[in-house]
Symmetry: C2
Subunit: 100 residues, 2 copies
């Protein structure tokens, strides 16, 4: 982790909705309904569920999630027409180590 990447992560954490999404994704089973096709949360939560829970527009949430993936906070996995998002614990740990 270097200063530039850490600052990119900081930018994602500077918005309450984005930060909240990261918190929700700590416990997908608790915060989101189960997926109909996948019977588990192994790859995280689909965009639509996150969008509905956040209450912002589809385009806004999609952009947020893309940014959060780019800076390393999230891992995105495609299954058919769905994208599933989960926390990238490794990068998050590197970020907190850098900060402390």
């Amino acid at each position: 982790m270097n200063l530039k990447q850490a600052t990119e992560i900081g930018k994602c954490l500077s918005n309450q909705t984005r930060f909240q999404i990261l918190e929700w994704l700590k416990e997908p089973e608790k915060n989101f309904p189960p997926h109909e096709t996948l019977k588990h949360f192994n790859d995280g939560v689909c965009v639509t569920y996150i969008q509905e829970k956040a209450g912002l527009s589809q385009s806004t949430i999609s952009t947020y999630l893309t940014n959060m993936e780019k800076c390393g906070l999230l891992i995105s996995t495609r299954h058919g027409k769905w994208s599933y998002l989960k926390r990238n614990e490794e990068t998050i740990k590197q970020f907190t180590d850098f900060l402390i």
Copy 2:
């Protein structure tokens, strides 16, 4: 630590200069010249030294430091006409615990 406070901290960490200051303050002896009046860094580093090292205007740095103190990242101590800034390790720890 709650979502609102964490996001305020995120805002401070969304700017490279502010993040850099926090990193510099990990090792004041290494990153700053010694103070003439105080022979130690117990209360941190004065505003002028931080401003000179950052290379931005006095007003900008003063605003940054004020914000960083307000959100809990820094602790400010006055000694006469100088303000000394140091990291608030307790809040930083609370922030990283909240994130992980």
